[in-house]
Symmetry: C2
DNA sequence: CGAATACTTAGCGATATTGCTAAGTATATG
DNA sequence: CATATACTTAGCAATATCGCTAAGTATTCG
């Protein structure tokens, strides 16, 4: 394993790790339908806002989503719609395992 | 969020979590080129065999790989080549973030 | 300005993950 | 049978993650 390969794997793992949580997967799916503010997401998810906020900043840190403040609200947008194809495939993986 | 949606997200997150580690990503990539025994993977990765073995059983538990014992060796195979397309897309995600 | 709303950050305890070493299991081999 | 090889399992310490509450920041509104 070269150092380059190692760096690439680490970087890819970082993105996967960011996606690897039910709440964050929900956020990504929801944002794929359009931008949402933190309060909307919080209500849909059903955990405290600080918790949602932390999930959001995690996704933002790896470049999957982006935020924009408008008034007192902060709206988040999906930056990499590619992630959705990704998740579509994922459905196949579990299905193939369950059968 | 319905209970069904919750269960699906949890299941998907489980698969992503299994992939979300540099060593396990390496294993998946390597197995996409053909089956490998634990000792081969161990040598390539450069950590102790028990550690590799645990990464392998994690991947096996979510149905991504499968094992077969032949003599004293255990060979692992990729069960869901779909995962590779998945990872191809991943390259795009990081690239789009870095630029 | 003062209060309210929408968020984020910090800090905490509970739990999960990671890699290690040591010990256990199973198959081949002298 | 005894030893070696290939692997897995168990147990441990270090570290990371998760959700919470409390406290801080920023913008709006009376």
């Amino acid at each position: 394993m070269t150092a380059t390969a190692k760096a690439r794997l680490k970087s890819q793992a970082r993105v996967l790790k960011a996606l690897a949580h039910p709440t964050r997967l929900f956020i990504v799916e929801e944002l794929s339908r359009g931008e949402r503010c933190v309060c909307e997401l919080t209500e849909m998810i059903g955990v405290e806002m600080p918790t949602v906020s932390r999930h959001l900043s995690l996704l933002k840190n790896v470049g999957i989503i982006e935020d924009e403040k408008r008034g007192t609200q902060v709206f988040y947008r999906l930056m990499t719609p590619c992630v959705m194809k990704f998740l579509g495939c994922l459905g196949g993986v579990e299905a193939s395992f369950r059968k």
